[in-house]
Amino acid sequence: MRSLQRVMCVEDDPDIRMILEFSLATVGGYDVCMCAGGQLAIEQAAAFKPDLVLLDVMMPGLTGPQTLVALRSQPVMTGVPVVFLTAKAMPDEVEELLLYGATGVIVKPFDPVKLPEDIRIYWEHGGGRRTD
């Protein structure tokens, strides 16, 4: 089983994007592809070949769930866990997000020091891509 390396991160708020990039690249040491919106993520997924996608829920343009559906149609996304990042913390709303086929939900505000470890756990438990 190879380790988690390539994380695609979709978030519209530039400040949060900066925190995410710092957390995932500097603290976590992952290769990170930051996208400011769902459309960009859909365009860059094939080239970046993410091991995991971290996806904001409420975004202008394509919403998180809409982006997830579009991403899932790409062959490169087969078996790639998607974790939602959401400001909504109500458990029933979390359930709803999981129904879209997400592996997990990380609630904002998140701890950027723990985030790299949290998504690694999701990657392992959520059927992270294995190489034979």
């Binding site: 708020d13 949060i16 925190i19 979390v94 359930e95 505000p109 998140f110 701890d111 950027p112 020091v113």
Partner: protein, 586 residues
């Protein structure tokens, strides 16, 4: 006053004016009718025999023409006999006077009519007042009988249903409002239909009254469209606020976390506590937002519970793990007493963890460095109970009654310093109640507090043992005291002696026995009888008349009557109930 003969007309007018009335004379029936309409007199006096239109006809006409009020008509005649008077009365006249008219009789009759007319005008004023209230009230009011036939509605009802007021009257409720009679009589909120077919949400308030033995229903209807719209706006607003507040908080919290962790380079020593403090407060703000959102959902009855059969020991372990960090930071140990085999209960896992996080953080918050907080789990045949016990200062008895209320925090500077939103316990109790459980607290000031969550067992059979206490004591005051102390916990029966106690037990299930051997014959024999009566259930001796060696010899629990407090007795009975219930659990 109508009379064709001038002399008698003038005489009567003089008489009337002399009595203090204002009289107007006319010389024909037709003139009488005209004046009755134009001048609105209080009383009409008519000569029966007049050329042209006679008094009979005038009476009849007046009755036909003036319907909005009662106008007394008195007929006069000098004819012999009573037939013509009877005829006039049957035509609608109210009274008669025989000519020549006696001034005394006329005065007495007019005084009588003045009184009746006064009553009438007071009634009319009252009715008009009621009418005005009914007509001007902002809420729609519709009255119908027990068959659903509408007797009337006010203008607001006509406006609400977009129809004419008269259109409502005589219709069946189903046709007029688009809701069935039974629904209207039972429901508090219903969608109703206007005359144009549009439907609106309505709030209903029904009152019943009886009129001449027939039930009448008066329904006050309020259109909820606007209220619903405002509720929706509030929800959207809250969702937006939640998102808009959390987005900047995420950056603040994230940036501070990265600074404090040293990921962005080591901070100067003096800057570290500042970064930590700022981070902690960003977290606190985020909890406050969570609490306010929860509160809004709970109070708006919009919280969706995902109830599933779950094992609480697993959830409790998770809760302890999650809160371990906080406990370690403040030097508090988290202990757990989670026996195997706990029956499953139906809970919303996330929400249960939220309650536990609240109870645990409260307990940790109020513990001193080096103290322990213990989470334990036990169960009876019907319930599973989770307890969180701390050894902190306990709950101030004055605050105890309010501690589950909104925004309640025990006042006083030291408690203030502990922080918190004052919403946690209120939200926790509501969440547990939504899961069908109870959240309660027991505390001895200075010795800590125990918060208990009791949830119904999913497998609890309908025929579970209902705990009850049988108190055998020949002292009536003592029996009364125990009923007073324990009846909040379970049913308590008292008996002065063994014989009556046996009678009570043979009728029903086996109780937990509390007894005083004093004045019951030989103590040992009495206690052996108690054991037989109690079968496997615990027996508590509540007495000043025995000693430790006797109690040990009998293998019973002992509380000194003169020493044991209400709380001690409650605790003893509660643990006996749990023990007894455990015997019955599968």
């Amino acid at each position: 006053m109508a009379d064709d003969i001038t002399a008698s007309r003038l005489h009567l007018c003089d008489l009337l004016n002399g009595l203090g009335h204002q009289a107007q004379g006319v010389d024909s029936g037709s003139a009488a009718i005209e004046q009755a309409r134009a001048q609105a007199p209080d009383v009409v006096l008519l000569d029966l025999l007049m050329p042209g239109m006679d008094g009979f006809e005038v009476t009849q006409r007046i009755r036909e023409l003036i319907t909005d009020r009662w106008l007394p008509v008195i007929v006069t005649s000098s004819l012999e006999g009573e037939e013509h008077f009877i005829h006039a009365l049957s035509q609608g006249a109210d009274d008669y006077l025989v000519r020549p008219i006696s001034a005394g009789l006329l005065q007495a009759k007019l005084r009588h009519y003045a009184k009746v007319l006064g009553l009438q005008s007071r009634l009319a004023a009252m009715a008009q007042r009621q009418r005005a209230i009914h007509d001007n009230i902002h809420d729609a009011v519709i009255t119908f009988d027990d068959l659903g036939l509408i007797e009337g509605g006010n203008p607001a009802a006509a406006r609400l249903f977009a129809c004419d007021e008269r259109h409502l009257t005589g219709q069946l409720v189903e046709a007029a409002m688009g809701a069935s009679l039974p629904d209207l009589l039972v429901q508090r909120e219903l969608p109703l239909r206007r005359a144009d077919g549009s439907v609106f949400p309505a709030e209903l308030a029904l009152s019943d009254w009886t009129e001449q033995g027939r039930v009448q229903h008066t329904l006050v209807i309020r259109d909820l469209t606007e209220r619903r719209r405002v509720e929706r706006m509030k929800d959207e607003f809250l969702a937006t606020v939640s998102h808009e507040l959390r987005t900047p908080l995420t950056s603040i919290r994230g940036a501070l976390g990265l600074l404090a962790s040293g990921s962005a380079g080591a901070l100067p020593k003096a800057a570290m506590p500042l970064a930590e403090m700022a981070k902690r407060n960003a977290e606190r703000l985020s909890h406050l937002i969570d609490d306010i959102l929860d509160l809004t959902k709970l109070e708006g009855n919009q919280m969706v519970m995902q109830l599933r059969l779950m094992r609480l020991d697993a959830l409790l372990r998770e809760a302890i793990t999650t809160n371990q960090g906080y406990a370690l930071r403040v030097g508090v140990t988290l202990g757990a007493d989670l026996p195997e085999g706990c029956p499953q209960v139906r809970v919303d896992g996330e929400r249960f963890l939220q309650v536990m996080a609240n109870l645990l953080s409260n307990a940790i918050k109020h513990s001193a460095d080096g103290d322990a907080v213990v989470v334990s789990l036990d169960w009876t045949v019907s319930h599973v109970r989770v307890s969180v016990r701390d050894r902190g200062p306990g709950v101030d008895p004055r605050f105890r009654g309010r501690m589950f209320e909104k925004f309640s925090q025990a006042d006083g500077s030291d408690q203030r310093a502990k922080g918190g939103t004052g919403l946690g316990l209120y939200i926790s109790r509501m969440l547990i109640e939504r899961m069908g459980g109870l959240l309660s607290v027991e505390s001895v000031p200075g010795e800590g507090a125990t918060f208990s969550v009791e949830l119904p067992r999913d497998d609890a059979a309908a025929t579970v043992w209902t705990p009850w206490v049988l108190h055998i004591d020949n002292d009536l005051d003592s029996r009364r005291r125990l009923v007073d102390w324990l009846s909040s916990l379970c049913r308590v029966e008292g008996a002065p002696d063994l014989q009556q106690a046996q009678g009570l037990v043979s009728q029903g299930s086996v109780p937990i026995i509390i007894a005083d051997p004093r004045a019951q014959g030989a103590a040992e024999e009495f206690c052996l009888s108690l054991k037989r009566l109690a079968s496997t259930r615990p027996v508590i001796l509540y007495s000043d008349g025995v000693d430790q060696s006797f109690v040990d010899h009998m293998g019973m629990q002992w509380l000194r009557k003169s020493h044991a407090s209400r709380d001690e007795l409650l605790a003893a009975v509660r643990s006996a109930i749990i023990k007894a219930s455990g015997q019955e659990s599968p």
